[in-house]
């Protein structure tokens, strides 16, 4: 049964992840490492917010970037995040590219964009379903523009938030002091 569902996911390349479907999310994430073109999960904010709350002793540096295919400065800075992901692949750094495109644009825009640009960092679509409360929940300082990026390291209680366009060097300067030698 699970196997059948899994193959249907791969065929369509789309899955809506709800609270009750947590295991499937992880299934999907696992698959994104295995297959060459990554599968982009669609997450409700409730599911997505777990990424903002790593376990207390987790010393991985999470670089979570909010972007959208329609946002020019976001698209311009994506290579910086890709380079970060590649440069720090062997260290405790995890780059998440969180698209806030509308759910309706998933097949038309987001998936083709990820495939065309061969994005290697983990991409997900966060579907807030029109509920803008997520902006304050990510960070009360967020005015609601993108690109926006949050850098989280639970073990050092680091929770930085930036509403700006980044260069690779700027990102490196933020994460380097956090990486455990």
């Amino acid at each position: 049964m699970i196997l059948m569902m899994k193959s249907s996911i791969i065929k369509t390349g789309t899955l809506f992840v709800d609270r009750g479907l947590m295991p499937f999310l992880f299934l999907l994430l696992t698959f994104s490492f295995v297959s060459s073109a990554q599968i982009v999960p669609v997450l409700t904010f409730d599911v997505f917010q777990k990424h903002l709350q790593p376990a207390n002793d987790n010393d991985t540096v999470y670089v979570i970037n909010f972007w959208a295919t329609w946002c020019k400065p976001c698209v311009e800075e994506l290579p910086a995040f890709e380079k970060l992901n590649e440069t720090y692949a062997n260290q405790k750094v995890k780059v998440l590219l969180v698209s806030i495109d509308f759910r309706s644009q998933y097949e038309k825009q987001v998936v083709p964009f990820v495939q065309k640009n061969k994005l290697k960092s983990q991409v997900m679509l966060m579907d807030a379903q029109g509920d803008n409360d997520f902006i304050d929940k990510v960070n009360p300082a967020w005015q609601g523009t993108i690109p926006a990026t949050t850098v989280i390291q639970a073990s050092s209680k680091t929770n930085k938030f930036y509403e700006k366009q980044f260069t690779f060097e700027e990102l490196e300067n933020i994460i380097q002091p956090l990486i455990k030698k």
Partner: protein, 221 residues
Amino acid sequence: MRLIKSTLSFLTVIVVALFSFGFINHARTPLSFGEGARVRQPGYNVGDYAADFKLKNIDDKMVSLADYTEAIGFVVVFTCNHCPYAKLYEDRLVALDKVSKKKGYPVIAINPNDAASHPEDSFDNMKKRAKDKGFTFPYLVDETQEVAQAFGAAKTPHVYLLQKEEGKLKVVYIGAIDDDTENTKKDKVKYVENAIDAVEKGEKPNPDFTKAVGCTIKWKS
């Protein structure tokens, strides 16, 4: 071969399931998450008084809020031509103006973007867009970006509802036009219209502050 493949897949499922359970059960402390604390915004906040301005309209005439002697208040909206989110609201701004103007709160649209970096937002293109979309309200250009800075506008679209109070302009609502940027909900919450209804009754709008996704104002470098 097929058997090996499906066995491998099955093992993957097991491993993933175990991993996910482990992950879920880990202790977690929220990192400044979900407090919903109201942070003081740059520029005007609800309750502040806004300064009047004088900006050029698409008919080449200068417009000030003081010109509207009959108005009870204003729906000041920072918007532009190029932003996909602003575009989604163009028709709804016209519809809003129709309702709000009757109540004494005309829409005043202001484009604060630097046209040098975003030619789609040029004055000529503003004229074209207003004509194409049948704007029933002034569409002003904030060339020096001083008005957007004074208001603390961060994005397009970004609404400030003002109410005249003893000759001053009190900010009574800041935020989004409604809760449905994509315009797909039947039962959308029309924040600005609701706020006008509230102040008409002498009540405080609830909510008086909302946040929505928008395009960054393109500041001059």
